[in-house]
Symmetry: C2
Subunit: 231 residues, 2 copies
Amino acid sequence: MPEKSHKNITCEHCGVRKEGLFSNLTSGEVDDLNCHKVCNSYRKNQAIFLEGSFPRGVYCVNHGKVKVYTIGDEGKEQIIHVAKEGEVIGFRAMFSGDPYKVSATTLEDANICFIGKDDFLSMIDTNTHLRNMIMKELSKELGDRAQFITNLAQKSVRERLAFTLILLQKVYGEEPINLSREDLANFVGTATETLIRLLKEFKDEALIEVHTRKLTILNQDALIRIGGAVK
Amino acid sequence: MPEKSHKNITCEHCGVRKEGLFSNLTSGEVDDLNCHKVCNSYRKNQAIFLEGSFPRGVYCVNHGKVKVYTIGDEGKEQIIHVAKEGEVIGFRAMFSGDPYKVSATTLEDANICFIGKDDFLSMIDTNTHLRNMIMKELSKELGDRAQFITNLAQKSVRERLAFTLILLQKVYGEEPINLSREDLANFVGTATETLIRLLKEFKDEALIEVHTRKLTILNQDALIRIGGAVK
DNA sequence: CGAGCGATTGAAAAGACTCAACCACCGTGG
DNA sequence: CCACGGTGGTTGAGTCTTTTCAATCGCTCG
């Protein structure tokens, strides 16, 4: 269970709303959203929802990074996406009628607001703009995953690592990338040991800077040359 | 350019409509759809749309199988999905505002109806049921791709081939699976030679029957044990 | 009949994984 | 305060899967 936040955020003043699904709402719609949401704070490595369970609503990340992943047959995680501030997660399951096909867990301490399924769906029903944003987002993610699939099938681990670092840079922005080696390996789709060896290569080639968990990209162009551009 | 069909299909009598996106329409809605669609026939290996081009509408497969794929950096195809009769393809790009992120090409002679973008979008706007079907379908595909990603990252080629055969059996139904070795390899995500060797293994183990291009599954349970179930 | 494409086979090489050991750091409890 | 245990990170060696390259085969089509 998430613990109650001491400090509730109002959607109106939410600094990260302008980026995501809930941007461009009218002030009435923002009020509506605000009434229906509940703020919760999460500790690092706390589960938000789990594959196989039934969805009760959607989660809007106010602060902190979140990994979205599936568990393979051998119990190994495959990270599909790292969500940042402003992103709404778990809405796919609102429409499919199925239980979650993925799990979500915080990568650091986080503030995440919850909007119940009924409230969310009725907002969608009445708000054309929001609905279009959702469909656009579903479509965008579908395209992203097509590229992810192609990368996994056709690129070497070295290439995929370069690609993943470029992708993560977009998530972390100015801050250094901050993931455990295991999480990074589970995103790239490789063994932890292989990942560590390749990170060292990149460090030796002065493409990245490594401070324990914190990775900084030094030569973005070279990484793009290795891993290909994010489409 | 697709050639004109000699025999137009009417949506009302379309035998494959009941399965897909356009099932459960009122008869008025079916008439509406019928007025806006254009029937085309395609030859085997004919492109329907290409990655990078701008979408003009959606395609409803009336007869024939269609591969949906991306082209990797080295020019190699990665098949993402094989669409069968009744499926609507290319609708993702209706909402994203982007050009196609995937290409689609017929795997055999096919009849495919076209519905223009404006007509399609206005149907969505006015038809809640259709809209819900679309959102459900987008969501379902997103879940499928999450499993695809996990399989590629974590399973061996042998396991992926078994999984892919089970998947393709659902597409081909009673008929034998009928793909070139190269297409099958590009779906599994492996080299053609590796695929051929593994097919022989499966044949020697009496899991499948091979007649040149045509593959029949003899032992479904064993393949599921090897490759895991389709979620 | 010859060209050409798809399918097949063999051999060698490369890439990645596994396993095992070791290190470094951190927080805890004696 | 320090020993202890645990977790996450790192390294090395060996193995195995998979790819690559090259050659051959078989069939269809013009």
